[in-house]
Amino acid sequence: MITDAAPIVTARIGNPQSWTLQSYLDNGGYDGVRKALTMDPSEVQQEVLTANLLGRGGAGFEAGKKWGMLAKGETKYLVINGDESEPCTFKDHMLLEEDPHQIIEGTLICAYAIGASQAFIFVRGEFALGLERLSSAVNEAYAFGAIGRNILGSGFSIDLVVHPGAGAYICGEETALLESLEGKRGYPRDKPPWFPAVKGLYSAPTIVNNVETMSNLPWIVTNGGAAFAALGIGRSTGTRLFSVSGHVKRPANYEIEMAKHTFRDLIFDPKLGGGIRNDNQLKAFVPGGVSAPWFGPDQIDMALDQDAVGKAGSMLGSGSVIAMDDTTCMVRAAWRITRFFHRESCGQCTPCREGGGWLDKIMRRIELGQGRESDLDLLLDVCDNIAPGLGWPPQKTTICVLGPSIPSSITSGIKMFRDEFLVHIKDGRCPFA
């Protein structure tokens, strides 16, 4: 049973012309930032701390704490990450197209709270309609007086720039995003010293937050952090958007109260995923984007709680749940994910660049019926070289976490479906082809 908590970030979606200023204003738009501007910036920050808003980009770090780590300085930047690229995650894409003013308002609230000199919204380049809707919204918000000098008569001034990406998964990683925003190749930066809150855009202190995280801020300021914290369970507060895809009957984004539901609800509830297509059996599911290790049907009653999922050896990550039914070839699924990582490796670090290529080639030959008996050991050995020990969270041998994410699907596949891999090798063909 899904709880009847009212939606927060999708409340306006479905309204006619929900992306326009008029529609936004007719439904409480810009009330949050108006209220925030009457408060002291530290009070705004305190509300977000009280709300315990966890970042919605994938890492799940408390937004208010992140803001508190921002180094002091004359020049500080705010960068909003709208480079949604984790496969099967499509929530930010929807927010950008359907409610861009909500993102702008959240960005203004955050900029005021942290005292940003300028704000940038980095939008995945492929999101043409999202870029157009957001750019129109920025024009409207400027004309309305919500962006620019002395916004809404408050004395606070802020400029906001919509920046298009150009197609690279890695730019969703915050330091790669900053390199890209500086007009360079999207190479992740080493931490330390490049913690954005200390040394970010143009080496200045910078906060990088996700689009959905920003979209929660107007509600939090309007209704108070305590009201937000009353939703969900424990540390997992508020609501969250889940992208449900794969073999479900109703693939879509669903906003539900945090931690109060299970994967079973998400995949089978008639109001959510609606069950498996053709009423097939669920074979496995990915709990949080293709970087996450897979779960089997025996784990379906686990709560959608980032700490619980983390303890069980995976992650809620980007909030994307992908269901695979019993007609799915797990070798092919794991190979496709591996091919993705190989293709998207930025190439800086050897374990990721070379290891990803090795794994892609070995998975390919197994799926195409040319696998060798020694290949499973070889796969695990290469995986171990990328993420030593193959534990969770993975050990890093690389600058960023793309590399250590590569083994997830392969180690899950071998652990859960070893026989299926072996049949491919013994029979010299894919049994599902």
Binding site: E126, L131, Y142, P164, G183, A252
Partner: protein
């Protein structure tokens, strides 16, 4: 090979004015180059470099990192078929195979009439409507073989021209505001490089 037109040069200068450091405008300017010519011409890239005072090799080295930029001509319609997991589970391999047969080119190829370039892409975040594709980054979902054929026919006949601008045109909304304080006065000769460069 074309450089930026006077109008696009003005747009590029306005973009540069938006950022604390000029080089941040490189990728947005390259999108303008690609909008103007359909791909990144050597002269277009060199012009972008002149505006930002960076070497052509730096421009090329940056552009080549990004999947959306083409340093060779492509078709008027870039057909990007997703085959990542959600689409794979919903028949994307079959869709791609059909697309190859219908257009008569493999991924990466362009039809002889220059109308279509086919490519296989990673997830385009439209998974609620898998299998899906994009044409010039306008999205189409739940695509079966017949839908694909109809789409190609409509594009070839120009019936979708309002929704799907030619390849390279990404964002048709111009920034109208917030530029007055930052933008430099328009140059007298808008076709000249922003500053002299050592040869």
């Amino acid at each position: 090979m074309p450089r930026l037109t006077a109008e696009n040069l003005q747009r590029a200068r306005q973009l540069i004015a938006l950022y604390p450091q000029p080089r941040s405008a490189l990728i947005p300017i390259l999108h303008i180059v690609q909008e103007q010519d359909g791909w990144l011409t050597p002269d277009g890239m060199a012009h972008a470099g002149e505006l930002l005072d960076i070497d052509p090799a730096e421009v090329y080295g940056t552009a080549s990192f990004y999947d959306m930029f083409f340093t060779h001509p492509v078709g008027r319609h870039l057909v990007s078929v997703c085959t990542n997991l959600a689409c794979l589970l919903n028949g994307a391999d079959e869709l791609l195979e059909h697309a190859e047969a219908r257009l008569g080119v493999a991924p990466g190829g362009t039809t002889a009439d220059g109308q279509f370039t086919l490519e296989e892409v990673e997830c385009i975040a439209f998974c609620g409507a898998a299998p899906c594709l994009a044409v010039n980054w306008r999205f189409f979902g739940n695509i079966g073989n017949e839908d694909f054929d109809r789409l190609v026919d409509d594009l070839a006949a120009g019936r979708l021209a309002d929704d799907v601008p030619p390849h390279g045109t990404l964002n048709r909304v111009r920034r109208r505001v917030g530029l007055s304080a930052a933008a430099p006065a328009p140059a007298e000769d808008t076709d000249a490089p922003a500053q002299a460069r050592p040869s």
